[in-house]
Symmetry: C2
Subunit: 213 residues, 2 copies
């Protein structure tokens, strides 16, 4: 048994299911920036995240994109779930945010486990709930917050999933995630620096205090 399965899913699933996951799943390590899911592609296996983080993005027809949310250890991708179960195409893009360890489970097992294991059913329901809540939280941000607060929230989320107070991104990359322009991000970051909340360097941002209020 891969130790990470036990660590991340041990309290969630019964041993029998853990063994099955270990048996039928394929262990995989992907580097930061790796594209796990392309929009429009069909999905043949679903990822259970064992370590690292994955960012889920929405892309519109013009190629503009927007960060939806991050997945972390113990999470799975609800879009993948519903794509698997409903045999739809992917509507999102998934990129490894850090080096990420995951185990890929073939979709045939999904329905089987749904019937067989109550803990799996609850996991699937819970994943849907979490993702729906995160999508709604994203809606809150875009609808109710101005760009300065959205940026603060982004920096908070980013430090959390990366577990690092240094954010290694260019202003342009942040602008893509928040679907705005580089100049806007530079402007707002400069303001945050003047307020003593961040320290700006080339290719990275040192977080000092990005709490709200």
């Amino acid at each position: 048994m891969i130790q990470e399965i036990q660590n991340n899913y041990g309290t969630l699933f019964e041993n029998e299911l853990l063994e099955e996951i270990n048996h039928v799943g394929t262990y995989k390590e992907v580097p930061e920036g790796f594209e796990l899911i392309k929009p429009g592609s069909y999905i043949k296996s679903m990822p259970l995240i064992l370590g690292g983080a994955v960012k889920i993005l929405r892309e519109d027809t013009d190629g503009d994109e927007l960060l939806l949310y991050f997945l972390e250890s113990g999470d799975t991708c609800a879009m993948t779930l519903s794509c698997c179960l409903g045999h739809h195409k992917s509507e999102i893009k998934a990129i490894a945010e850090t080096n990420t360890k995951l185990i890929m489970v073939p979709i045939e097992k999904m329905e089987e486990w749904t019937t067989k294991y109550k803990s799996w059913r609850n996991f699937v329901f819970d994943s849907y709930h979490k993702r729906l809540m995160e999508a709604i939280e994203t809606i809150d941000s875009i609808a109710f917050l101005k760009m300065d607060d959205r940026l603060l929230k982004y920096l908070r989320d980013k430090t959390k999933v990366n577990q690092d107070h240094i954010i290694n991104n260019t202003h342009q990359e942040i602008a893509y995630d928040l679907h705005t322009s580089r100049v806007v991000i530079s402007r707002l970051l400069k303001k945050l620096e003047q307020e003593g909340r961040v320290q700006l360097n080339r290719n990275n941002i040192e977080i000092i205090n990005v709490s709200s209020i």
Copy 2:
């Protein structure tokens, strides 16, 4: 057996489940504007919609609100689902968009049916998928569209769920749903009228052509 159950869910569920729904559910008719779910409340039964339409709104702490999506016949509320299964509080508000017929099913049955009926499980998964997709579509609108296109989309959705090319709302009501100000809506509607796409009257808007492109 209530005929509407058969009509709306007959192809989805086996007879045994239809009978159970008929037996344990409470039939209910609510008028337009009726508040079905308050944010922050606990939910003790889940609604299956038999006729009419329900609008689902998100409210922020200041009482500002935003339309998430509409539910129609054959739909159920995914938030209710996950609130029931996870015993969380409601995070949304549901208002009858038109006179609406629904059947309320006590939450105890939910888990039971999830184990017992494959068709019910699939219905629940499918509901989650649909709602997640609608939430993401809402994100698309807010993130990628300007207010004029969001208004067009709103008018389209509204004519669809109401099955009527007359929209009986004030500009202020539309402004609430789109989380903007009345003046902005009046301004954009006037522009649409000048383009010959709508006809503005007091308390109602006659839709002539609100297709995009």
